[in-house]
């Protein structure tokens, strides 16, 4: 929140009312963003939401139909990509297959005019290869490297020119899940060590949450819905779409009725967090995260807050946590998530009668 406020108007990168239109379709719809120096910012959205188009406009591969892009006080909107102080790490890396690792990393340095002395380039490439721990593989071709190694070459190549802004397009989507989680942290550590401002684009909310200082969530229609720190976006989503996109959630639809949310099919209206404005009769949704819901073998009583009786539908044991789905009648299920060892008693069996419960402050009221 603070970073966003401080960034207004003075941001290191300012995207001002940028739109991109292809024929009749609006791929990016009037987006304004401000990013501070040394920040890692993630643009999160489903595929085809325009996040990559926005990144490509910042890199210079596309020209905005409207709006401005200002980097470090300079208007970049119409500067061609090879004159921008930005570098991109491409999705699936786009390493030059005919060049060695060393030549790939040196490519950007060789383009600098006036030309750098050979020794300077060599020393800089060595330093970059050391940074990503690929010095021993310097003479290999990209096809002789594993996916993780290719990713590191791509990173070294995009850092070689010391860009003011590093752009990462789906940086880890080409990696296996297991390597991906480890690489997320390595990548953040490297970016921090180099101290470069970074914008990444991803459809993977876990990747965005793990890596970014702030996340901007885009709608499928190319608009920016919400910008905030990972925790803020997760705990206080502004819309139902965000609540569902960033993590799992249970949505209860209903109308405000005497300070509570009356949902058709539920025996009693749901209690809401204190201080919620509840204009009588207005439609609204209550979002409750699965890990915010507890499970009880018998009625936990009034003091548990909201409570609904049901039967255990499905159980997914995932080691560190378990996901238990509870059928509450009317074809509706409530998803609950329990850290290992957090279940009060033993894990219930499928079909068993249980109660789900959560205190009112664990829900988030959404009106759009």
């Amino acid at each position: 929140m603070e970073a966003a406020a401080a960034g207004q108007g003075t941001g290191f990168l300012r995207v001002e009312g940028v739109s991109k239109r292809y024929g009749q379709t609006l791929a990016v719809d009037d987006i304004s963003l401000s990013i501070t120096k040394n920040e890692i910012f993630a643009l999160l959205g489903s595929s085809g939401c325009g996040k990559s188009t926005l990144l490509r406009m910042i890199a210079g591969f596309e020209t905005p139909s409207a709006g401005r892009i200002v980097l470090d006080g300079e208007d970049m909107t119409r500067v061609s990509p090879h004159h921008r102080p930005t570098n991109m790490m491409f999705q699936s890396y786009a390493l030059f297959p005919h060049l060695t690792v060393r030549e790939n990393v040196a490519f950007g340095l060789r383009q600098i005019r006036p030309a750098l002395p050979r020794g300077t380039i060599d020393a800089r490439v060595d330093a970059l290869l050391d940074l990503v721990q690929l010095r021993p593989l310097a003479t290999r071709k990209p096809s002789e490297l594993s996916g993780g190694q290719q990713q590191r070459v791509a990173l070294a190549r995009s850092l070689a020119r010391e860009p003011k802004l590093l752009l990462l397009d789906e940086p880890l989507s080409a990696l296996d899940k297991k390597i991906r989680q480890r690489t997320q942290l390595e990548l953040v550590e490297l970016i921090r060590r180099v101290g470069v401002t970074c914008i990444m684009v991803t459809h993977d909310q876990e990747e965005a949450m793990a890596m970014a200082d702030r996340i901007g969530i885009m709608s499928p229609h190319g608009t920016l819905l919400q910008v905030g720190a990972p925790g803020e976006v997760y705990e206080h989503p502004r819309t139902r779409y965000i609540a569902g996109f960033v993590g799992e959630t249970n949505l209860f639809e209903g109308r405000f009725e005497s300070g509570r949310l009356a949902c058709p099919g539920l025996p009693q209206p749901l209690a809401l967090p204190a201080g919620t404005a509840t204009p009588e009769g207005t439609p609204a949704w209550l979002s409750v995260r699965p890990e915010r819901i507890t499970l009880h073998g018998s009625d936990p009583g009034e003091q548990a807050g909201n409570r609904i009786a049901g039967r255990v539908g499905g159980i997914a044991y995932l080691g560190s946590h378990s996901i238990i789905q509870v059928e509450i009648g009317g074809g509706r299920t409530v998803t609950t998530d329990h850290a290992a060892g957090a279940l009060a008693q033993r894990t219930p069996a499928t079909g068993e009668a249980v109660w789900v419960a959560w205190p009112p402050e664990n829900g988030v009221v959404l009106t759009q």
Binding site: F61, P81, H82, T86, S92, A94, F96, F107, Q111, A160
Partner: protein, 311 residues
Amino acid sequence: MNALLRLLARGRLWVDALPWGWMLLFFAAPFALIAGVSLSTSELSIPPYIWPLREEGGSWQFLPDLSSYERLWDEVLALLSAGGELEYLGAYGNALLLAALTTLGCLLAGYPFAWRIARAGEQWRNTLLLLVMLPFWTSFLLRVFAWMGLLDSSEVGLVNQLLLGLGLVDEPLQLLYNRGAVLIGMIYSYLPFMVLPLYANLVKLDQRLLEAARDLGASGWTTFVHVTLPLSRRGIVAGSMLVFIPAVGEFVIPDLLGGGGVMLIGRKIWDDFGPNQDWPMAAAVAVVMVAVLVVPIITLYHAQRDEGRRR
């Protein structure tokens, strides 16, 4: 089930056998015949040679006549001692030079074609390729004759008419029956053979590699030289082969547009098989031409394969 498998196995056999059989019937056997003729003795008869493998004195004997090859070898010696007439070697040289220039011309003209088609929208590519191949729908001879009409060196020639009409020249230029006319005709006729393999290669070129080069500060030209060109090398080699090899033996275009002024090896073979009735000589020239072409092709093939392995 077993019967079906056996049938399938036999089907596979056919698929394997057809190309081998084809090559045997239409390449190996004719080539062996030509090689045999090249070792025959010239004779005024029908056919005008005596086969080297023949019955003599009651037994079969192999009696090769190497005089045709000796004539070629003598020219090599003459070349080395810088004296004497180079009737055949000159024709080889002219043909190789013309083929090389044709290949270069096709490459320079064909690369932009292939690039543009490969970068066109997917819905346009097939149409554009069709347009490149469109001239093939008319007779090859007709197209060469059309060039004769265009380049005619009198006031009737279309190009000369245009130049005279625009007042750029006072009298018609000698456009036909020279090396330039031959080269234009060759490049024109062989262009599609260069464009198609180049296109097939360039269309697979990952667009993001070009973006990556631009992103890393390379200008359009640097990107072309350091990324596009090296990555399209296989297409360039394939297209150059398809143009160069048939161009060496090309006979019709130089004859019609060059007026026979420049002696090429194709013309030489034609003369020896035809008017001169020296079949062994013509066959020897053909065999040597295959040898001259095969050596660089095999070298190139090995170089490419090793390159492929290193990747």
